[in-house]
């Protein structure tokens, strides 16, 4: 199996491609059927966040999703935005969710993070090793056939 890497221009339509590939590769890697909805949602959220950041900072760079399987199914979503951007990742309390003062973007970001954190048991968000950017790393167990 090893590695499948998908890189795409930061446009919403390609987030669909990333979900499609992420789930197809997960299925083949042996991720349990009942986890695939969560894999789809989590990869979608991580990519949506990356695309939003690239657009916000006007970055034409491709967003990268790397899927690999060895003992587990590991998905890394890498953006190239300045690190401070990842500070937006904080779970919002319910009473603030529908608050007038909260912008739509902040709400969507907070909700996106809640979904990532809620659906992915093994989640890491960290700066990339080289240059600007953040990596969202998600790991799911696989059942070997």
């Amino acid at each position: 199996m090893a590695t499948v890497r998908l890189s795409f221009s930061p446009a919403p339509v390609h987030v669909r491609t990333a979900r499609l590939v992420g789930v197809a590769v997960a299925r083949r890697a042996g991720v349990a059927e009942e986890l695939l909805d969560e894999v789809r949602l989590a990869i979608g959220e991580a990519c949506t966040r990356a695309v939003a950041l690239h657009r916000q900072y006007g970055l034409p760079d491709l967003v990268m999703v790397e899927m690999s399987d060895s003992d587990s199914y590991t998905v890394r979503v890498v953006d190239r935005a300045p690190i401070e951007a990842s500070v937006g990742l904080a779970k919002l309390p319910p009473d603030e969710l529908a608050d007038e003062s909260l912008t739509d973007e902040a709400l969507t970001t907070g909700v996106g993070f809640a979904l990532l954190a809620g659906f992915v048991d093994d989640l890491q968000v960290r700066p990339v090793d080289d240059g600007a950017g953040t990596e969202v790393r998600m790991v799911w167990p696989v059942h070997r056939r």
């Binding site: 949506t48 529908a98 970001t109 909700v111 659906f119």
Partner: protein
């Protein structure tokens, strides 16, 4: 897969039937339609999510936007959803505490009909 949007009037209510995938690519079309409804005078809006296959944070953000808009206009906003995977998404984001969520269109309509202040779930 593609987003489908169908509107129908049920008494005082406007029911927006949503189907397909509501994500970062299609959510702008949902937002547009909801804004149109409110601008067109709808004050009691029910969004039926029964035929939604996929909903992400962008879609949820659009629904919260509609809730706020109707609240500001003294209207009501409710969601219809009975699928467990989708309900889980509302629970995980705590948005089940923000939206009135009903198991059927009938329940949504009979609960919130004419009750302009009842924008919060009664539970």
């Amino acid at each position: 897969m593609e987003l489908s949007l169908t509107t129908r009037a049920v008494g005082e209510h406007t029911v927006l039937d949503v189907g397909g995938e509501v994500d970062v690519y299609t959510a702008p079309r949902l937002r547009e339609r909801l804004v149109e409804l409110v601008d067109g005078g709808s004050r009691n809006v029910v969004v039926d999510l029964a035929r939604v296959d996929f909903l992400d944070s962008t879609g949820l953000g659009v629904l919260v936007g509609a809730l706020k808009r109707l609240r500001a206009a003294n209207g009501t906003f409710g969601l219809v959803c009975s699928k467990e995977p989708l309900l889980k998404i509302f629970r995980i984001t705590a948005l089940d505490q923000v939206f009135p969520i009903f198991p059927s269109v009938e329940a949504a309509i009979s609960t919130s009909a004419g009750d302009g202040d009842d924008i919060h779930p009664s539970a």
